[in-house]
Symmetry: C2
Subunit: 260 residues, 2 copies
């Protein structure tokens, strides 16, 4: 039965998609796991980031989430050129889905109930979330066993971490769903911005200490270039610092899961 | 009667808030205009970015938007330490407001009808939007005379520009509201990522040519540092490249408005 990890953060542009995509690819490439990458962001950036290796078609995710009859996200999973990596793409109707779910009974549990089949086919399921704490993100958190929270070294991203941790607590206490924080991931770390790194970095350590992953993702143009050509950085520029960092993150994620 | 500019882009982290904040401050500082900065992002990043100069309190924006009786955003405008600069802060209930507005008659026109009073008190009104094209952003676009669209030199931001331009067309054709594109602003331009700048930069020029502002905002740590201390960069580090760029943008914005 797959472990399910939601990659979530309220702040825009902190590297949720970059992390979901490259962590998934690292788990497949270096650990030979079967991984499903679900895109819960209506903007469809997972497919855009991996457009070189995915073939589209098949059932739209929105149809599965809005269906009254029981469906499973596995029905929308697409194979990719990477053996073991599958993607459930976002589709344009996910925007409406965010709104349409608001009036539905148990609106936060829709994905949770549509993921049971997929669990049996994969080792890890990663869910990329949009930059807000709306219905789609809530569904991801309620479907997930863990949340992985990327955070760049900016005051706004730092302050956003508290919001998502509060949301995790509410999911646990009010919806009685046991989703834990797998860790907070420092991203886009630029060696040139020493004072900022020091201030926000220290703030993160003081507030969250052991919750922080040891692995930090450096600012590395290989990551943006890989996204521009539609491939994972592990494919496109395997010897880059970005590739090395996501390889290290994959190992650290598995170690943390092992310890749980 | 104030000119109203919505600062909007679907992509997260492209510099909407940084632009709304520093453009507002440049218009006040160098052109002595009366400027109102409205925060339509539930995350309240405008106040976070200027927390050093704002005094909170007063009516919450959500109350004005959800009120059945006619209200005006001017009732929620707060003075700042900068003479001529006022801020209507976001509040926590804006998240609910996004949802609650969905069922309301004429849900895209709420802000438009609540901004008429404010128009008479200011020269320019800037509206910071969340990273999506939901009800809050739609309200900003329908209240606005112009949209200013920041875009960093990444494939996802570039592809997002087409979406917002399509949304502007729909607002014009379906809602019969005349909101024009003031321009597309290249942001976070890093001299070190030459090939990316070239590719995406060329893509922007080929697709949008004259719609692009001449001014490009460079990647400059002064902008992040200013945000971290809660002041505008024009205050905090007036001689930085970031400050110079937003000063140039203010002049270019006024020139374009003049030409209209
Ligand atoms: N470590 C890094 N080094 C360099 N560029 C990066 C890094 N991480 C992310 N980026 C770039 O920053 C931009 C934002 O990253 P990404 O889209 O993954 O963030 P996000 O949190 O998913 O954004 P959104 O909130 O819009 O979903 C992208 O252009 C991406 O290529
Ligand atoms: N030109 C720049 N140089 C350096 N840092 C910048 C620049 N523009 C923005 N930033 C930083 O990048 C991050 C994202 O910027 P900002 O929050 O303004 O974007 P946004 O589009 O408003 O994001 P969101 O989608 O979350 O609302 C912030 O930490 C900001 O300080
Ligand atoms: Mg994303
Ligand atoms: Mg913002």
């Amino acid at each position: 039965s797959a472990v399910i990890i939601a990659v979530a953060a309220q702040k825009g542009g902190v590297g949720k998609t970059t992390t979901a995509v490259n962590l998934a690819c690292a788990l497949v490439k270096f650990h030979h796991l079967r991984v499903l990458l679900i895109d819960m962001d209506p903007q469809g950036h997972v497919v855009a980031s991996l457009r070189e290796i995915i073939t589209l078609g098949g059932l739209p995710l929105s149809e599965i989430l809005l269906s009254e009859a029981p469906r499973d996200v596995y029905e929308a999973a697409r194979p990719t050129k990477i053996e073991g990596l599958y993607i459930t793409p976002a589709d344009k109707r996910l925007n409406e889905t965010e709104t349409l779910l608001s009036t539905r009974l148990g609106r936060e549990h829709i994905l949770q109930n549509a993921i049971k089949g997929a669990r049996t086919h994969f080792d890890v399921i990663l869910i990329d979330c949009p930059p807000n704490l709306g219905n789609l993100t809530l569904n991801a958190l309620v479907a997930a066993d863990y949340a992985l929270v990327p955070c760049d070294l900016s005051i706004l991203a730092f302050e956003g971490v508290a919001d998502i941790l509060r949301t995790l607590e509410t999911v646990q206490s009010r919806l009685h769903h046991d989703v834990d924080l797998l860790g907070i991931l420092r991203t886009r770390v630029d060696v040139r911005t020493r004072s900022l790194n020091a201030t926000i970095g220290r703030g993160l350590e003081e507030s969250y200490g052991p919750l922080l992953f040891e692995t930090r993702i450096p600012a590395n143009s290989a990551l943006t270039k890989a996204q521009a050509v539609g491939r994972s950085v592990l494919d496109y520029q395997a010897r880059s610092r970005g590739a090395a960092a996501y390889q290290a993150l994959a190992a650290e994620v598995l170690a943390r899961l092992e310890a749980e």
